[in-house]
Symmetry: C2
Subunit: 593 residues, 2 copies
Amino acid sequence: MTAYNAPIRDMLFVLREVGGLDRVAALPGNEEVSEDLVAAILEEAGKFAGDVLAPLNQPGDQQGCVCKDGVVTTPDGVRQAYAAFSENGWNAIAAPQEFGGQGLPALVATPVQEMWKAANMAFSLCPMLTLGAMNAIDHHGSQAQKALYLPNMVAGRWTGTMNLTEPQAGSDLAAVRTRAVPDGDAYRISGTKIFITWGENDVAENIIHLVLARLPDAPPGVKGISLFIVPKFLVNADGSLGARNDLVCASIEHKLGIHASPTAVMSFGEKGGAIGYLVGEANRGLEYMFTMMNHARLNVGLEGVAISERAYQKALSYAMDRVQGAPLGARAGDPIAYHPDVKRMLLDMKSRIEAMRALAYFAAGQMDVAHLSRDAAEARAAQALVDLLIPVVKGWCTESAVWIASTGIQVHGGMGFIEETGAAQHLRDARITTIYEGTTAIQANDLVGRKIARDGGAAAQALIALIEADMRNWAGSDVGALAKALETPLRHFGEAVEWIVRTHKAAPEKTAASAVAMLHLAGLTVGYWLLLRQAAAALKRKEAGEDPDFVKAKLAYASYYGAQVLPQAEPCFVSVVGGSGAITEFDPALMIR
Amino acid sequence: MTAYNAPIRDMLFVLREVGGLDRVAALPGNEEVSEDLVAAILEEAGKFAGDVLAPLNQPGDQQGCVCKDGVVTTPDGVRQAYAAFSENGWNAIAAPQEFGGQGLPALVATPVQEMWKAANMAFSLCPMLTLGAMNAIDHHGSQAQKALYLPNMVAGRWTGTMNLTEPQAGSDLAAVRTRAVPDGDAYRISGTKIFITWGENDVAENIIHLVLARLPDAPPGVKGISLFIVPKFLVNADGSLGARNDLVCASIEHKLGIHASPTAVMSFGEKGGAIGYLVGEANRGLEYMFTMMNHARLNVGLEGVAISERAYQKALSYAMDRVQGAPLGARAGDPIAYHPDVKRMLLDMKSRIEAMRALAYFAAGQMDVAHLSRDAAEARAAQALVDLLIPVVKGWCTESAVWIASTGIQVHGGMGFIEETGAAQHLRDARITTIYEGTTAIQANDLVGRKIARDGGAAAQALIALIEADMRNWAGSDVGALAKALETPLRHFGEAVEWIVRTHKAAPEKTAASAVAMLHLAGLTVGYWLLLRQAAAALKRKEAGEDPDFVKAKLAYASYYGAQVLPQAEPCFVSVVGGSGAITEFDPALMIR
């Protein structure tokens, strides 16, 4: 049994106390957003996640997808679940209102998406990619394109995909070779795309592929890539389906995890060229992709939060049930959760998750502020925070998720290694999150290069100032005592920022060698700050009569993290400012003998 | 393609410079051991590992084992490989000479076993368990039992297993319930054993099960468990096979990894009781198991080294081949190994492996000294080092292996997540090593309780004195400069030892909560010491005309580890001496809502 109970209480707490739900609800366009509405949405989503999606997670992993003659069959129950998901309007919640969506703010969509990912990560990728494709068309497509494609995508009848990667063009999209040749009002697309998530499936009537390709006269490199809509079935002017387009799923991958998510090799134009429609202007395809990157990376970071939560729930449930030996410092007959090291592992998982969730929701709330605030200074400051933090959300939450899912196995002992138990699947599923949508190194290089060095550390210093203001407010309180542990890491974070600003221009290979350590330093530090915010809020609520156990737990997570997790910031700092020479001066040819 | 090239040069270097091959060769009984002989053995073993075992690793993982009506079929090619393995005498190398074995010292057997594990971990478990069973019979069985069972086991015709775990008795073997009822000269065994590695197979003519069970009048708990030989086929006095015994493989597990190793549920005595023969004295079964524990744990620690080496070779090969983007600080067209963060990952893998291998070989060499030295003080000191270090070898090398195998996936980017690539298998296989033969927590509790607190820290202080003596010798040299980084971690290690000695008796739950951090602190610190020994030896060889690139690489690994890995000792120290309260004072019931 691998149940999932959406942690609605934790989610609402973080939405309010860290994500800034009040501020987001007060932004123009969010007039309908209220705490009650959000609670009701989470309640409904939690039911769907727990009752419909979660039970399909392990069977879907075991059965996997099959591809035969270009036709993909998803595991039993997935089609029905997807139909119910669409029927219930879940594709619509973050989609544009003009075309049938609810246009809820990112902050509110975030916990809902966390639930889908936790309940069934493989399934969740289908609506996630569809939303990405919808956003691309909504932001960059013509009015006619929007009208033709979006309503059916919002309704869930059609799914969407992103066709970026090619065998020779992975992290380096400049190497894209897929060709687009003008043909009347449209284009003929030909080439092979790999790693296309839900690239072919049996849950949708049509699949709207967004494809990066090069026009014949395109300049080389990143400035010669255009974005095309290439539907599986051409769409008639009235929205009905026309001819099958010249594209086919050549095969699907046999992967370590997310088995219920078909990862397709897509072959375009084997019979003369798939018909594609240019989105926006020619040669601006990568630029368009970049505009959606923050959302996409937030979503994958959220996968880290979600899969960690699922692994934690499973480990906790096992550890509170299994009796083995007599735990030191507990009563005879107590379950293994009371063994000091099992308790340590559970606290490690949980306290990190609380930090990670807070970071992701904080970033989501800032996205809404940046997007909707009419106060230009507020919006600018929020956008700077978003840009700075998104690589941390993506990189740190996913790296942590691999660790946490692995710890979840360890809590189960020998049973953790048995697939039937279900704990191993979470590690297998989590393992992709540090790779796709930009590897951890790419996030880290984005952080140190574009987000820290480029503005001379201004955004990072603004974040530090924000944290310092909180710390001043907390001084003398119970939270102030916990906040003491943050002083050194925060100072070191600031010094690391300065080191990066100082070093990057002259020796970018040095900051690149330090980048992943910097990413972890940022995540560990900011994560603790947001745990302290939760602790402060919990204490305030205690005065207002909050459940004392809830408050006690929040303080315990902050306390554990401060004592056992945050100290890991120190070696990261040492690595950043002092360790890159051991890397940059090394020639890997020495490793070959 | 997933080739394995046994790192013979590295292995011989560590055998000589860290393992103490000269000293071991000079021990009584090792008269035949010479550097030339060892090199020849490694050469032959390397060929068998690379040519025969390694190519079966991925197909065996994909095909897995099948159990039907109690009959297990191993993947294609495994039977033939096992026959060749036995034919070539590889089962014999560490086996007792009296029964056809070669009786080579542990130090020499260690790199050979590393090769089997690296080439094909699932396969290697079969001879490993057989060797364990042989050792149990050789150390504790009667002369008649030895004569009856050992020759065929040494020859590889029969395999051996260890039947310890039961559903309710995992880490806590005191809970064993399998019964043994006297029946003439023998006993009737009945009960269910789980997680029995190679418990049933099609590679051997007979399987000699060693089974823990309780006699009717046995006292409760650990002092009431006896050890029995329970052969699959009864053996006639002339060594020929007799009747099938009353035991059957009920099923095999579907596991995360080591798919080619059948993990059996064994059912004994469904038809009245399997015939078993008491080994040694009644009620001393667990004690007998403990006498073999150091070897068994060394072997599993070695699995960590081996699987890490395999994952590293694969990652290096991919990274030196794949071109993607223009690496910062390198030439255009250079492969991804030159990207700073990929270089960092490769250095991280390699430098940890060099530390781990050195630690395992060092422990193996000390085992030989403890076992064979006629100088009682020398033997005692060596035994104390072995006892202290074995939980570190097992716990730290396997925890590191999970990290390294995961890093190996990361180096491959998206390809790492595709099973065909082969990198993912190493993570899946590695994931069991921190669990079986005592989880990491059990190793860590052994370290802090039995190995540090019990002797008042004497063994740990002796180790520290050994390291300090080296550091004094290195002062002023090039290695002395690298050794500077060890000063603080070593001092902290000593302080942590003192804290454990001070704390353990009054508050064992506190040292238990700190134990895994202490294990990592020990591994990180001792690992660097042994990297420095390698660096010092390499520099000495440079003067003697050694390949300058070999020397350069060894120094680079020490340098990287000192700058980037060793700093992680600091948060471990903080966790040990300051962080356990956040764990011990927490009641996990707060996590349930």
